[in-house]
Amino acid sequence: MKKQLVVIGNGMVGHHFAEQWMASEMAADYELHVFAEENQRAYDRVHLSEYFEKQSSAHLQLGDDGFYTLPGIHLHLNEAVIALDREAKSVTTAQRQYSYDTLVFATGSYPFVPPIDGRELDHCWVYRTLQDLDAIRASAQGATRGVVVGGGLLGLEAANALRMLGLEAHVVEFAPRLMPVQLDSDAGSLLRAKIEDLGVKVHTEKATRKIIPGDEQRLRMCFADETYLETDLIVFSAGIRPQDQLAREAGLQLGERGGIAVDQHCRTSDPSIYAIGECAVWNNQQYGLVAPGYTMARVAAAHMIGNVGTTFTGADMSTKLKLLGVDVGSIGDAHGATPGALNYRYSNEIEGVYRRLVVSADGSKLLGAILVGDNSYYDTLLQYALNGIALPEHPESLILPDSSGMSSPSLGASALPYEATLCSCHNVTKGDICEAMNDGAVSLSDIKSMTKAATGCGGCAAMVKTVFESELEARGVQVDKSICEHFSHTRQELFHLVKVEGIQTFDELIERHGQGGGCEICKPAVASILASVWNEHVHEAKHLPLQDTNDTFMANMQKNGTYSVVPRIPGGEITPKMLIKIGEVGEKYNLYTKITGGQRIDLFGATLDELPLIWEELIAAGFETGHAYGKSLRTVKSCIGDTWCRYGVQDSMSMAIRLENRYKGMRSPHKVKMAVSGCTRECAEAQSKDIGVIATENGWNLYVCGNGGMKPRHADLFATDLDDETLIRYIDRVLMFYVYTADRLQRTSVWLENLQGGLKYLKEVVIDDSLGLAEELETRMQHIVDTYQCEWKTAINDSEKRKRFRSYVNASEPRKARIQLIEERGQLIPARMITEEEVA
């Protein structure tokens, strides 16, 4: 019989251990049993508040779906271990008893609730699990105000969650400032000012004495200073305590302040039992961050397979995070507790940034740092602190803004030592990255899949990218961003040249900035750029040879050389009369007819000759081209909204139709899809679209840069509760900025992922107008809207343009006679290849 390995707990650390274990050679000799108290498998607790933001937990799940179905692994959900018998080496759950050879505690921690009278009342919650969040959400129904007890890191996360539920959020903190562990008083007050600007009310130096039923609201919190605050719900987030109950009962040795004591191999006082993560204490210290937990998981797994060289001897507790949209960073000895430590401080109340450096007495080493308002300094500072790199001559230059006239010597990737840890979640050093490159990694995604760097919390992504690129350069690899052999420019650069130099044609562009005759890569790319900038008809003689056949003939070529036709049906709304017309046209030309995923109708099997005839009839009936052939707006999918639906809170139909009519015809680097949902049930699946709009009681939430397809991506929440006009303005700007800066054939999702600064940067450009581009972007979009023409309408009214639609210019023989079709389910579909013999 195989040996039994039991893991209690399926949180982030327990999961990480299971992954490490299953990847080891020893895994084959064991059955691994993982017991989870919760009813779902491991998820990302660090980003818990995204559960409200994205309204689902799917993206929080850790690991592949198939992981817990691997042979040799058994995940027991909803099955808490209630007893441990160390002598018999067995654990007991409500269901049965399991024996073990080796046992791992990964029970995590539980939220500390201060012993306040009334803390057991209804509507008092903690913030740790998805179930907690479900309870908070239910409790927020009909509530207007919520209070978080605790102004630490988790407390502020919880306040953000309350805000996302539409509550007026309050934070009550016992200490004189927010995040007392990580921040000093200047940083704490700046953070306070910033989050109060966001509408969160902060009360410091408040000790809650008791909680009683309220007069105006559900609850009243009475403070030690005789004041009180009424609220509808309370979330306790006053710290965490190691979940050591079971270990305590089993007589394992504990730390001075609780927690399961472990040695440098994460082994407890019982040699066949290990403890990892927040339930464990090393040297009486608990590590409440995920990265040290992961390290413990690796150390324990390594020790079990006989590797005693890997040890855990404490961890760096530096943190970088965004709280309520505010950057906060704390590195090493942030408070300057080291004897003789000296400080540099930069404080800018106008821009709302604060930075503090703590350096050694001789000024040579960085001991710690505090950042508020701008975390772009974090990576460099962390490397100085972790690797003991000698500080530059003027250390203050590391925290002064560029405008000070001193160039900030950001620590180049080449200056980092080989052993510098870049990714602390997966313990990846610069050396590991170089090694992966020696083993053939040629792209950032290779690096990620080979080393797992930047796949944990993601905080190191920018640093990993920089190291990778600088290594490439050091190896003499030119990072070639040319679009093709004819232009040594990126699409973005070409776009810029066209706009700035007022270039109108491909010939002009290639003459000035390229070489040779062009190809199927650069021609359509330039055509798209010219269309985005000047918006002329694709059939202008100078543009025609640049287009893909789909654009040339304004239809989608199918595998047998025939085309399909998609009329525009904005928002999927169509009158019975128009519907009948489509049916008539389909019947007349014997077209295969199908409803598309974008709420419109595709008619297949038309020959070139037939296209203008078909469109003549469709246009006469009031249809317009659907641009299904173009790199442009496809559809705006919509649910019926509050016009019919009893749940709808806004008129999603009207908004969808408005958006579709506004952006139809816009040429972009790739296709663009949108959707509008009339309530949070999200029937239009807006979060899988490039632009997604979801109605709220107060307006619209805007999501950007999602897509389905080969690599699906959920859209990111971009702005909330917008009125109609602001919504349109933001979409104008996002789309035009995408058109300006994306690569050829780059969907918005990939564009955003490659955009330096990501979502935050996009918000700055679009919402805060940080580049001063907003007006130009809107004007450019308005130009496209104003110059819209139905390309098919223009084409059928122009005899020269119509001449293009001849299957053979010298034969009246209709092309259709040469295409073999067979009938299937009452419609015609392509038969197979036609050979020369059959035609002759």
Binding site: G517, G518, E520, P545, G561, R806, N810, A811
Partner: protein, 120 residues
């Protein structure tokens, strides 16, 4: 086009010069054979005629592909699966064992004419 070297050919009118589309292609029927005719105004060789049927899909689509130049060699990219066919030899650049027919082609008194003998 050098008329002397092609004097022995018989020429057939396939379309008017005005039917040509600069820097692009059109399809004509040469008897029962669909042929793609490409026009590159201003180049040493301005006219090319190759088979219209894409050998990879068996569909008549090559005249609708985009014209491409690489190191002086002109080809057309099939609109279906994007293989390149040389305009001068008909060979597929990605798979030289595959190719399409090539005909002599010229303009004579505003008529586009195709020779009756395959040249490639």
């Amino acid at each position: 086009m050098n008329a002397a070297s092609t004097a022995s050919l018989q020429w057939q009118n396939v379309c008017h010069r005005k039917d040509l589309v600069p820097h692009s292609g059109i399809a004509v029927m040469l008897g029962k054979e669909p042929v793609a005719v490409f026009w590159l105004p201003g180049h040493d060789t301005e006219l090319y005629a190759i088979g219209h049927t894409d050998p990879f899909s068996g569909s008549e689509v090559l005249a609708h592909g985009i014209l491409c130049e690489s190191q002086g060699i002109w080809s057309v990219a099939s609109p279906l699966y994007k293989q390149h066919f040389r305009l001068d030899t008909g060979r597929c650049i990605e798979a030289p064992e595959v190719g399409v027919d090539v005909w002599a082609v010229r303009v004579e008194q505003d008529w586009v004419q195709i020779g009756n003998i395959l040249i490639g």
